[in-house]
Every structure is written in structure tokens, then in C-alpha cells.
Amino acid sequence: MPGSDPARDTPQHLVVVGGGMVAHRLVEALRDRDTDGTWDVTVLAEEPRAPYDRVALTSYFTGRDPEDLALGDAALWADPRVRLLRGEAVVGIDREARTVSTAAGRTFAYDHLVLATGSNAAVPPIPGNDLPGVFVYRTIDDVAALRGWVEEQRARWDRPVRGAVIGGGLLGLEAAGALQHLGAQPTIIQFGSHLMSAQVDLGGGHALQRLIQGLGLAVRCDTATSRIRANRRGTAGRLDFADGGRLDVDVVVLATGVRPRDELGRAAGLEVAARGGVVVDDACRTADPHVSAVGEVACIQGACIGLVAPGYAMAEIVVDRLLGGSAAFPGADTATKLKLAGVDVASFGDAFGRTEGSLEVVWADPVGGVYKKLVLADDARTLLGGVLVGDASAYTALRPMLGRELPGDPAAFLLPEGDPAAGGGLANLALPDDANVCSCNNVSAGTVRAAVTEHACTDVAAVKACTRAGTTCGSCLPLVKKLVTTELERAGVTVSNALCEHFDLSRAQLYDAVRVAGLTSFTDVLGRFGTDGASRGCDICKPVVVSILSTLAPAHVLDGERATLQDTNDHLMANMQKDGTYSVVPRMPGGEVTPEGLIVIGEIARDYGLYTKLTGGQRIDMFGARMEQLPDIWRRLVDAGFESGQAYGKSVRMVKSCVGSTWCRYGVQDSVGMAVRLELRYRGLRSPHKIKLGVSGCARECAEARSKDVGIIATEKGWNVYVGGNGGFTPRHARLLAEDLDDDALIRTVDRFLMYYVRTADRLQRTAPWVDDVEGGLDGVRAVVVEDSLGIGADLDAQMALHVGSYEDEWRATLEDPDKLRRFASFVNAPDTADPSLAYVAERGQVRPASPDERDHAVPEPVLVAGPSLEVRR
């Protein structure tokens, strides 16, 4: 291929037509490998956005945002050698001049051209397929339009929205799941004899249909749709079937397959296959040496392949060839796994047993909804393929064994885990180094092992970054984790998750240890679990232990030994600011405050000269209070009915709310009422990091609840709960945990989520990374919190009940105890004297700390405004 001459001074120019996942991989691989800078690349993308994870498109319905679907590191598009033009549709190729022209009238010259235009959703030639209310399911825009339509229909009818999905393949099932998620009742219309007939045999198809119906989705197989009829408004209203049946609908999704977008290649005179697709050789080249094609538009080895992993392989091959290599397409791995909540399906290799002499081992449990089949070569040992329905847990381990002899009895791999007859089949599987673990990114078991042994990776996150394994669909992560753990153990590396030099345990382990041992004091915890009973802890372990004890054995923050363990914020129950003074935040549950309350706060701020500002959590912060002033300030606040806002703690902070149905004309639930109820329930709960909650009264989400650790959004039927939203350094939107809960179910769910987090998160780990770390991610959290898969639900409930029952306002309790009040002395030899070094200047009508410069250059003294001696006491 031309362009491989590294001696050239000026880089050559690569133009990629199309901005999908494969184009992204191609650019990523090129920038990764082209260290000499021999190629510049321009990506011409038709969609108005950077490449995104189309495989995860359905998750757009289940709480993820378009930006969550972004692929890889956004820095790729900032690379000076990479130019991404969005909304730039290519309309013509001039192979003579080696240029492409775009709809916008621009022309781009290339030294090499890659067609990565992908596919269009195929629209079957059914009359009525162009009516409003008929959709395809391919891009973010398709999904957004579908969502908009369904929401409109929902608002229109008193009954559930009726949906139909034409096509019972992988995409059709996902689309049906998405429709259901939007509150519609979908029926899947399948032309063939069973669902997913391209991947799954008849037995598997029947098991799958039972599972799908169990989710509340209707299925009609062997059904041809002859017409989509309009209703009176001229939108899709009814399906007519060839067998005379009919189905009333409000929305129709066409999911009958995809068609390669080969029109550019065809117009440019490149060879196009009979069933579509630009014909390429094993190097992904067309007959024109300056033009390649990759991904779904490429017809390679006689077929177009609508899966991402082979597309990635093609992208890597083109890059290799551009840089002078000789990589060739090895044949497609067409293994698939269905991404539909509650239904586990996988198909890999020769799933239909088409190989001559092949044998099938089948295990079916119709009651449990499980069907598993392995296809073996005539030696009854070599794995050729398989179908797993209802329990695909063996998929990640079995798929890399394709073409290899299975150790032991093949049947053992099909039996449920834990069945003694299984003999630990899967557990004993020792993958050969060249077995492919991550097919999306073509990472072998050996590469994963080498990441540990040669590149010093010590956890899954590092291995992911190093090898890219598990970074696309994530289905191989359990296997990657197992490989990494085994390799680390073999290397004798003990992965240290020790808290500090005083404890070998992680925070989560220590929490469990303290809970089981029933310990209630730091001294006991140190004596029992510390590395050295004589040592007395440090600034790392002391706050961790006191936080653990606060939920296991509740007591006042300043009780006895516990006071010595607290960070200064918890010790003085206020937030230390940069000059050593504190800020004071009284609790305002749900953001409600009375006029009388506002007046008291105003008077206090005025009397003590405090800088006053609204917080992001719908309350009021007063800055510049000195430690010796805190008891007097709080006495006035407590007298006025305020209590501690715990704004200083690693604890539940507040529950933000919109005004909700009591005032708002859009609200569907009383969000303020719920926010107040939740805030009064969880106030004071100590946790590994701060926790914020939010409640919105309708889907407009004015409370921005999805930026909170727990976000609650009202629906017509109840409440949806989202978890793991964080602001801060790495902002994250919360993701859907459970839907349409009534008040009690909502509280039980939030109780368990919070307590599970408190028990198992790492020190200073916020909820978003914690959810990622829980085995199984969000699904794993849901299993524990909603489905009680660990059987600890009652335990978590009891622990939360202990918290709620033992709550007291820690400021009120402090004011009643002279011993505790002694802690607020500014100086042990001058308890009421202000720190003489404090200096303030006026700004916008309030005070702020003087800068070092202002201190140094003020003549003769720093400008003191409302400083230590100027406050007015009541």
C-alpha cells in the first residue's frame, strides 16, 4: 500500500468517510501506532457528533446521556494530526483526482481513502412504512425521535401506548425492551419461526420466547406484516398481517436488518456485492489501491458483517497496511450477546451445528427458562460453538475455547454453577495464552497476563487502560478480573488495600470486621485489628474508624475517645476555611426556610460580621466564624429551631428539591414533601464521602437530581430512583436503579442503597466509582439493593433503623454539655481571645479574608473590616 515510506518529510493524508465506531477505532489505532507522524487524518462524519458507542444505544433509554456513549478519550479529537468534521456528509468520490466532495460543497484531497460509512437500517417494503409513528433504530437521533413520539403518545392516551416491533432479531429485541422502558406495551412481530433465528436454534428460540414473554413483551412468530394502516390523524394505527390478523398500534419500530451504505463506492465505480457492500480483499482493499473499506459497508470474504468486533479488526488491518505491515482479516468472530435487561442470551461459533460430523450437548430446564447447547467436533471434545439462553454466564469463559479441546466432560460446562456434578468445570478452565478474551478489542489471555507480569498492572482498571480489554462492551470483564487475580497471586504480588500503616485491611474489610466483632471503640478496633496494638493510629485511619463506628454503634461525635479521632470539621462541627475560621450551615430540609428563620440567620450574620452566601445545596452558608464564636452562634440558631446541617461531614448533606406538585403546574408528585421526609431520615448519616440527594417533581428535573448520589424523579405512577450521580472532579450522571416505586418502596430502596454504600465503599470513594467497583456494576448494586440477592436486606434495613432511631442534633447536644463546649476555646490560656492574625477586607458589601499582599502592604496595619473586635454581641 502506498504511503508506507517513512522517509517522506510531509505527512500523507488519510480521509475516512464515516464517523462511527469503526472509524473511531481506525483513528485511535493510527494515532497509537504512527509514531513517526507519516499520516494526517480527516474524518468526515455525517452525524452531528463525535463517534459514539452504538452498541450501547439502548442504554440511552435506561438513563445514560448521549455524552455517556462517547468512545475512548476525547483528547483523540484534539490531536493536531486528527481532524473530525461533524455534519459533513460526503456525496462524491473522484478517484482520478483523489478527492471527495461533501454536501456542504467542500472538497478534500486524499492519499488514501477509507470508506467506513456503515449501514442504514433496512426499511422493509411494507406499504405504510413512511407513516408518522414508524421508526427505525439505528442512531442517537432515531432513538431520540422514538422517545419523543412515545412520550407524546403517552400524554395523549389514558391507556398504555401500544407498540409493535417488526423484526425479532437482536436489534428488534433491544428495540422492544427500549419501548417497554418508555412505558409502551410492545409486541414483537417475527417473520421467522423463532426469535433471534440468525443466532439461536429452535430450542433456544423457544426458551428465549418464554423469557421475553415473562418480561411482559408479546411475541408473534411466523407472522408477515402486509401493511401499516394510518389512523384518523394520519399516523401509524394498525398492522395488518398476511394471515388475516391485525394489531392496533400507536408506534412501530422497523428492525428487520441493515443495508450497507455502499452508494458512494457504487457511484465511484468500485465493485459492489450482489447483496450490497463494497467488495474488499483480506487487506480490506478495494480494486483501487488508494481506497479501502472497513466495517459494515465492507463485503469481506463474501459477506457484510453487522458486528463491531470484526469492524475493529478491519480498522486495525488498514492501519497496519498504511504503516507498511501485512495484516490480513482472519475471519469474523460472530459471537453475540443480547443486551436486554433480564434476558441472558449468547451465541458463538457454529451455533447451528453445521460442521459435518458435529455433535451437540444440550441441557434444558424449561421451568427455570434455561437452554444451553454446546456444539462439539466429532471427537466430542473440541468446542465448535454454542447457544446459551437464560444463563449465559459461561459465555465469557467458553468463547475463547473455540476450536480447542475442553478439559473434562463437556456437560460439566452446562450445569448450573455450584452443582456438584459440574465439578467446577468453568472454574478449572485454564485459558491458553492465545485464547481471545476480549473480541471487541482483540485482546488475548496472554496479553492480559502480560499486562500484570510485564507492565506491572496490579488491578483490572490498570489492565483495561493498558490492553483495552473490556473497554467496549464489557462482557469479558469478569474473565479479565479472574485472569488478573490469578496472575497476581501467581506472581506472589499481594495487592495491598491496606488503609494505612496501622491497618492491613481496606475500609470495607474493616467495616465488616468491626461489625462482626461488635466493637464500639477505636482502642478496641486498634487492639483487635491493628497492625501494632501499641501504635495509636493516624490522620488516615482515625476518621475512617470513627465513621465506621458512627453507623455501627451510634454516639455523639464528641463522646469520649471519639472526639480525638475527628477531623477538625467534625470536631468543631463546622467547615474550616482557608484562614482557619469556619463556615456555618444550618439544616434547611428540602431547601425550605421560613421568613422568621431567614431573619434569625440575617441577624446572626450581621452581628458576627459573617460573609453570607447561598450554597449549591439550597441552604445558607455563613463564613468567617471563629471557633470560640461557634457555640454562641449555634445557641441562637438552635433557639430559633435550626439544627446542624452536617455540611462539614463526610455524611449525608442535604436533599435538593424542586417545588413540586404543591405549587408547580407541571409537577406530578410532592417533591418537597418527599425531600423533607428523606432529609429528616438520613440527616447525620456518616459515610465514606459526602452524599447528596435530590428529588424532582416531574421529568423536567428542575432539582437536577441526576447529578446527585441518589436522584429521585417523580413519575405518574410513583418515583424513579437514579444512583451514582456525582459532581466534583469527575462529573457523572446518576443511572436508573428502580422505577415507579411507591413512597415506602422508595424509602426502602434508598435505605438499602445508602447503607450498602456505607458498608462497602472505599475510603473517600464517592458513589459513582463505587457503583463501578461493585461486582456487576449497576446491575450488581440492583441485585443487592432491589432484589436482595445477598440476603442482607433486612440487615441493612435494621442498621438504617438504628441510625434513624438514634439521631440527635449534635449541636443541641453539645450546647447542653460544658465538657464538650470546652473544645471551642481559641487558646488554652486565653479561651475567648480571637486569633490576632485574622484580617479582612470589604468586598461587595461583605468581608473576605485579606490576601497576603493586602496584609503585607497595608500601612500601618491590615485593613480590618468587621474584624475580631468589631462584632456586636446580643
Binding site: G537, K542, T564, Q566, T568, N829
Partner: protein, 154 residues
């Protein structure tokens, strides 16, 4: 004050050529393993004061270092967490800054962990001060805590 039995509790010998002992508080006024600030005369210091952070350990030792945090410029070290760190195989009592978590040796004032930050000026280490506990009677609340300040400064 009359003639008194004196317990020297500071581990280090005073670094000053002559020492003036200033009485600060009763030993029992100090909470074990939690710091306390003291405001002492410092004619050469800005404002005529020097602030000292006193820490009483469980073994009865009382240690004193600057209350001024060289990394933030605020007088806050007495409000940090008291802990222990192994330095050269030996446990050393420490004080951590409540603002940005730098860790200082209470015995030498050395900054053991800068937490990735640079001090505003100087070395980032703290000055230490000698401390003694003077017993002046039967019921003397554990004795009188005195901090040694440089005598040549006055």
C-alpha cells in the same frame, strides 16, 4: 511560684541559648491526643504574639510546635489530627494540618509529608518548643504546663 519539682517532658533539648519558661495551663486542661493552641508573648513576631500548638500524648508527654501552618499561612495546626508514623523503624508522634493534610513530626517539627504542596516560604518544617510540667502542690490538676521561649529574644 515557689521552688518546685520539675518534670522535663520534652524529648529534645531546647534549641535556644537561654530559655524563658512561660506558664500556659494545667496539665489536665490538655485533652490526650488532641491539640490545643496557646497564645504566647513574642516580641519579635508579627503582632507581638507567637502561637504554639500543644499536644499531650497518652504516655503523659507534652510536645509543642508552631501553630502556624507553613503551607497555608493559617494558625491551625493545633486543630489537626494527632497520629503516629513509622520513621526509620520507630513510631514518631505526628500532627497533620487540618487544611491540606501535611504531616509533621511532633518531636522534631520536620514535615514528613508535604501532600504534594510547597510551603509558602521557608523549609516547611515547624519550630519545636521545650515543654515542662511543674508540680506546685498536692492538688495541682496534673501540674503546670510551661513552654520554653527563647530567652535571648527579650
Amino acid at each position: 511560684m515557689t521552688t518546685l519539682p520539675v518534670t522535663e517532658v520534652a524529648a529534645e533539648a531546647p534549641a535556644f541559648s537561654s530559655v524563658v519558661w512561660v506558664s500556659v495551663c494545667r496539665f489536665d486542661d490538655l485533652v490526650p491526643e488532641r491539640g490545643a493552641a496557646a497564645l504566647l508573648p513574642g516580641p519579635d513576631s508579627p503582632g507581638g504574639h507567637v502561637q504554639v500548638a500543644l499536644v499531650r500524648l497518652l504516655d503523659g508527654r507534652v510536645l509543642a510546635v508552631d501553630n502556624h501552618d507553613p503551607f497555608s499561612g493559617a494558625n491551625v495546626l493545633s486543630r489537626g489530627i494527632v497520629g503516629w508514623r513509622t520513621v526509620d523503624g520507630r513510631p514518631v508522634p505526628t500532627l497533620s494540618s487540618p487544611l491540606h493534610k501535611q504531616v509533621f513530626s511532633l518531636e522534631t517539627g520536620t514535615c514528613l509529608d508535604t501532600a504534594g504542596k510547597a510551603p509558602l516560604g521557608g523549609s516547611g518544617d515547624l519550630r519545636t518548643y521545650p515543654v515542662r510540667v511543674v508540680h506546685d502542690g498536692q492538688d495541682d490538676a496534673g501540674g503546670l504546663v510551661q513552654v520554653g521561649l527563647p530567652g535571648d529574644a527579650r
